[in-house]
Amino acid sequence: MPDATPAPRKFEPRIVAFFCNWCTYLAADLAGTSRLKYAPNTRVIRVMCSGRVDPQFVLEAFARGADGVLIGGCPPGDCHYQVGNYKALRRFRLLRRLLREMGIEEERLRLEWISASEADKVKAVVNDMVEKVRALGPLRLKVPEEVFAEEVAA
């Protein structure tokens, strides 16, 4: 056993990304075929439509240690399923309010419209989000005792 504690590793944000099958997932594929380079911090989970992203998926990701969650869908008017992205937008707005109540910063949840041809945008969004979340530091969810203390003090 080494007795010296290892130097703390640099914080690398962990971002779970839900990409719709028809636009953003394809844009990420295109970023690959175009050999664009971006930060390796995202882990993409494919869904058929951004409208499939259940708020519970996002909460589960934060609960399991994600520092950020990115949802990628077709631009307005372009949804493969006509209006699924609008439903995603509504849920996203509600969810952001809920997250704020929970003390999770707004920048940690992001919804982006990225069409299949916008490989550049995948790169830009991922890099930007990684930087913003890196600046926020690791997500630390409050333990119930802290919340109680705050509520009593308020």
Partner: protein, 665 residues
């Protein structure tokens, strides 16, 4: 002995196959470490890495392992599922498992190709593989839905691509609807004079095919019509077509053209679209002599009867009891059911006005290449004599290549045809005028059968080639009326100023202005340059991401006539393959209701864009029609009681993926 169950029973471990993809994946991701890591994951029986898992021996590993090791699930970590998910599902099935006991990990497009840090890329790969292994263990055996295919085909666009595709399908005995926006089919090719490199005339190739379309018993030709709505899915599309009024009863018009002669306009006064305004037409006109159908059109914008209602209507008089003219004709809406659709909507030439320093629209001596096609054409506005707008014959001509191509201010891509058509025009102009012809080029691109030979031929004929991009076009100062082309000759290292009588702009090809609307209408995708996107450039070059919709010709990207015809044939063959299979298998990613858990709240009912969900009053439960469901999962995410589920995208499977990607050490 029990027969091995095709659907499996959920037992058996997971096999993980890590693909090197040559060095595409293995160059960045440590595949050995990844496979060793995968082998240690809970539930994994075997993990292998191999150079090309998609190859025959690669697939054989999977099949043998399923049989020999009794695998119950398969994970392949390779390229994008868009590329090879089908391949590996098939291998899984051939090994004896249900094909949906499979999960793919996108190591190439989403990892090795976009990252440079070996360690970080390998860590990411581990996360993704771990998530897939956890997910696949919850996969359910599924059956693909089979739906019958309507054998009729819709072809949109009546240029050479649409014509060739329609004829190929019709000759194979399929019913085809060919919809063209303009009053005639023929497209851009009908406007060309001769075609490179053989110099056979465009009309001689095209017009017999146009006539064949008109007379083919299997083709329903709707010109002056547009698709306005597309519903349904592969095999079962419902298409709405708007047929614009041409104010002529198509069935009654014989194409005698007497009405044009009889029009109260004695002289043709309206700029003629087919000749790009270089000629004139009357308000009642036939776009060009070989138009198909041979049915005239009335232009309500210029017809006196439409403008004032006080015309003598000499056209109606001369038409007599044929009664083909109908000023009251209304737009008609047709609805057709087809199984497959071929889009052949073509391109538009780059608008030369976007580069003001070339002076198009300012100096009368500047022409676009398409205008020159009409000028050299024997059936064109000058009868094939090359005369400038001032009536003179040009003695010196400058052709500027790459106008709107290979330029970061306009389009970065090469339009592929401009070099060759510029060489052709150089040859034709020289032949007709004996002028000195100067080509200003960046690079000459002649990569086709007999193309380089044609280039050499034109060069030997005495056409000049100056390697340099023209930076300015301006009138010669001493009032000669000539235009000076200024360019840096990059081979001589000198600035050249060459006065010419005529400037020809080799304009590039671009996506049509309404490509985005058309894309939405058909639910397909555009690439960055705005052309329609093919499913895969090599594996599925004429398919789109929407099953049953295929691409042909320049709507997919710039290409010449031989390539366009080849692609149209390919699109027709793909459509035929679907139609002749008589049914198609759909992804089983539909949603379903767990009846005992449904509270009957009806939240889901209005969410479904396809009206696939109904509320069954008798049971007070929601019900999903599997045929109408397209599998987006919006209702699944919305159901407050969690009683709607989605095949292939079950909540539990996605939760496993979330936990999986985050569960690292």
């Amino acid at each position: 002995m029990q027969e091995p169950k095709r659907n499996g029973n959920g037992a058996g471990g997971v096999g993980v196959y890590v693909c090197h993809c040559g060095t595409n994946i293995a160059g960045i991701i440590d595949v050995r470490e990844l496979a060793a890591y995968a082998a240690g994951l809970p539930g994994v029986t075997v993990a292998r890495e191999y150079k090309y898992v998609c190859s025959d021996p690669g697939q054989e590993f999977i099949k043998q392992d399923i049989r020999a090791l009794g695998l119950g699930r398969v994970v392949v970590a390779a390229c994008s599922p868009c590329l090879h998910e089908k391949t590996f599902r098939r291998a899984t099935e051939q090994g004896g498992l249900n094909p949906f006991y499979f999960q793919m990990v996108n190591l190439r497009e989403h990892d090795s190709w976009v990252h440079t840090d070996r360690e970080a890329a390998t860590e990411k790969a581990k996360d993704l593989v771990r998530a897939a292994v956890r997910r696949v263990r919850l996969h359910q055996p599924l059956e693909r839905r089979r739906v019958p295919i309507d054998p009729k085909v819709l072809v949109v666009g009546g240029g050479i691509a649409g014509i060739h595709a329609a004829l190929t399908l019709a000759n194979a005995g399929k019913k085809v609807y060919l919809v063209e926006r303009e009053p005639t089919i023929g497209g851009h090719m009908a406007q060309f004079d001769k075609t490179f490199p053989t110099l056979d005339c465009a009309a001689c190739i095209l017009t017999p095919k146009m006539t064949a379309v008109r007379s083919h018993p299997n083709i329903t030709l709707w010109t002056y019509s547009e698709v306005t709505k597309v519903d349904g899915y592969v095999g079962n599309f419902k298409v709405t077509v708007k047929r614009k009024p041409r104010y002529i009863v198509e069935e009654l018009c014989l194409g005698c053209l007497e009405c044009i002669e009889a029009c109260v306009y004695k002289q043709a006064k309206v700029p003629d679209e087919f000749n790009l305004g270089l000629g004139k037409r009357k308000p009642i006109y036939l776009p060009f002599p070989q138009a198909v159908p041979q049915v005239v059109v009335i232009d309500p914008e210029t017809c006196i009867e439409f403008k004032s209602g006080k015309c003598k209507k000499t056209c109606v008089e001369v038409c007599g009891d044929r009664l083909a003219i109908d000023f009251k004709q209304q737009e008609r809406i047709e609805e057709v059911e087809v199984g497959t659709i071929i889009l052949a909507t073509g391109f538009q030439p780059f608008d030369a006005r976007r580069i003001p320093y070339y002076g198009y629209g300012t100096y009368p001596g500047v022409y676009t290449a398409l205008e020159v096609e009409r000028l050299v054409n024997a059936a064109g506005p000058t009868g094939g004599e090359v005369l400038l707008r001032d009536g003179h014959k040009p003695r010196t001509i400058g052709i500027i290549h790459c106008v709107g191509s290979r330029d970061e201010h306009t389009h970065r891509y090469c339009s592929r045809v401009c070099c060759m058509y510029s060489l052709k025009l150089a040859h034709l102009l020289k032949e007709k005028t004996d002028a000195e012809v100067y080509n200003f080029y960046i690079d000459i691109r002649a990569p086709g059968k007999a193309f380089e030979e044609f280039y050499n031929r034109v060069a030997e004929e005495g056409t000049h080639f100056i390697r340099g991009k023209v930076a300015d076009v301006y009138p010669e100062p001493n009032g000669t009326g000539r235009l000076v082309l200024q360019a840096e000759d990059t081979l001589l290292g000198l600035v050249r100023r060459i006065p010419v009588d005529m400037v020809v702009l080799a304009t590039g090809l671009e996506a049509r202005a309404d490509a985005q609307e058309v894309r939405r209408l058909f639910n397909i995708t555009c690439s960055t340059e705005g052309f329609f996107l093919e499913r895969h450039p090599k594996l599925a070059p004429v398919n789109t991401f929407t099953d049953g919709i295929f691409l042909a010709g320049c709507c997919q990207g710039p290409k010449d006539i031989p390539d366009t015809v080849a692609q149209a044939g390919a699109a027709a063959a793909e459509a035929l393959a679907l139609v002749d299979a008589q049914f198609v298998e759909l992804e089983p990613n539909t949603a379903y209701v767990l009846e005992e858990e449904c509270s009957g709240c009806k939240t889901c009912v209005p969410l479904c864009p396809y009206s696939a969900i109904t509320f069954v009053e008798a049971k007070k439960k929601a019900e999903i029609n599997e045929v109408l469901c397209k599998g987006c999962g919006v209702c699944v995410a919305a159901c407050p009681s969690g009683s709607i589920r989605q095949n292939l995208f079950e909540d539990a499977q996605i939760f496993e993926e979330i936990e999986g990607v985050l569960a690292h050490a």
